[in-house]
Subunit: 329 residues, 2 copies
Amino acid sequence: MRLAARPVGLPKPSDWNFTEEKVVEPAEGQLLVKVLYLSLDPAMRGWMNDAKSYIPPVGLGEVMRAGAIGKVIASKHPKFAVGDEVSGAFGVQEYALSDGKGLIKVSSKLAPLPVYLGTLGMPGMTAYFGILDVGELKEGDTVVVSGAAGAVGTVVGQIAKIKGCRVIGIAGGADKCEWLVKELGFDAAIDYKSEDVKKALREHCPKGMDVYFDNVGGDILDAALTQLARGARIVICGAISQYNNTTPVKGPSNYLSLLVNRASMKGMVVFDYADRYADAAKEMAGWMMAGKLKSREDIVEGLNTFPDTLLKLFKGENTGKLVLKVSKD
Amino acid sequence: MRLAARPVGLPKPSDWNFTEEKVVEPAEGQLLVKVLYLSLDPAMRGWMNDAKSYIPPVGLGEVMRAGAIGKVIASKHPKFAVGDEVSGAFGVQEYALSDGKGLIKVSSKLAPLPVYLGTLGMPGMTAYFGILDVGELKEGDTVVVSGAAGAVGTVVGQIAKIKGCRVIGIAGGADKCEWLVKELGFDAAIDYKSEDVKKALREHCPKGMDVYFDNVGGDILDAALTQLARGARIVICGAISQYNNTTPVKGPSNYLSLLVNRASMKGMVVFDYADRYADAAKEMAGWMMAGKLKSREDIVEGLNTFPDTLLKLFKGENTGKLVLKVSKD
């Protein structure tokens, strides 16, 4: 799936170009991967813009960048053998050639493969380092997370519960909210589609929030700013409400609350923690084994559905990690 | 000078009520102060609004709150004697009764009295703790300060120079900019009234800024956000461009630059550092004696000019600390 045009607003079918090409045999030092599962992430929208960011944009005509899980089907690389299960940035395609750089071996014996794109993948790492390092989480903190039913939000909230915090999630829809509380053990959830978020935050956080983990930006970030505790930490992880804007990003009008409350707002990019991924994954796998951390994936089948399936993220239709199943395991 | 009405936008003469009353003798435990100099601060505008903040608003009909320097002219307080020079929140009036709480003795033998409202007063303390503690200043940093010719900005920039940083000031007008560079030793100054701030920042900070100390908010904050270095710290000290808004505060549209650059934005209130004021003042007085830190006050005479003189702050007409001289020393 190649990027055909720079989208304006929500990506349209015509922004994509589906091409079929012969699968090439790996050269010396390369391996060929059959892609099984693709990770669909809000950040993809940013990669489609021709703008300077933490990673270069995807070029027009290039295969769309995507994290993925695959199986090695041919190898002339000393470290990878046919049958190895691997995680890497294979892109939105059925087969990928790789020189092995950045590839991580995974195992379907330890966890279902899609989990390596969610809780044990980038979203899980983002949640782990975002809430623990950037958010400087302490036991007893009141924690609020937006996009709470998404791949990052579900893990943020559960880690905060594991660490002895009170956790309030903000998500869209009664089903998601019920699931957050009943299944994931959140203390409360606010349905931004039917509730007044500012008022609900006032009720659920009468003493203010100590950590606010923001995945959405826009009006919800502004509402959160009205309910900070003294010394609160805001983690800026994303702003999905703003990614498809055709007008300028909505800046947080209430940012002077940072001053009044001696609070901070800090941005993060998960790649900075790459040298600690392995330790984090080990700890998170332990929590999963102990039943303290639940992983949920929202799996859609068929590479051809990619243009539509990606939109589920921006429409808030996914619960848990959105994964595209490309081929059978 | 009493607050007569909650101002909408810039305070008007009719928002004030000038009253004359008999001066009362101090009761047991009280002292009477003759007010000599009043501190005029941007924060005063916030105190006039009926809104929750870091300090309660001034009530309608109450004497306007103001920091001031005065001389004790009558005392029934064991710790203060007639003739003592004192700093305290005496308010916009000629005489003030005090119970001694929060009063600090000063001395015109060590520094001219108005300096205790500026470089050795709240603005100086704000600059000191803001740039050193909140801004986590390091030698070699590129530092940008807005409102650079104001009471806080002048001190921020000079402290950063003392600490071995490159300092760029943003101020309004060629005179102020020239003064910042020639008199205060800033490396460069940007005149926001005649220059494109974003473009000028790109030229003066080709590698981005490590610390941005913001006194103004609005478009200048947004311009600064486009030019952050990796790991930059933004100190939110004030937002003078927004204090007289009749529309909502302009949130920083470019705040996602915090994410891309792993940067932070942190608010501060100087009162939190009260237990360290004395040490800071000692160090700053040392720098002044050594000629490394210059203090400038913009002194206007006459209590009756208060409503107009206050507006100089919001029109950017002051250079250095704006002080109202009430009575002769």
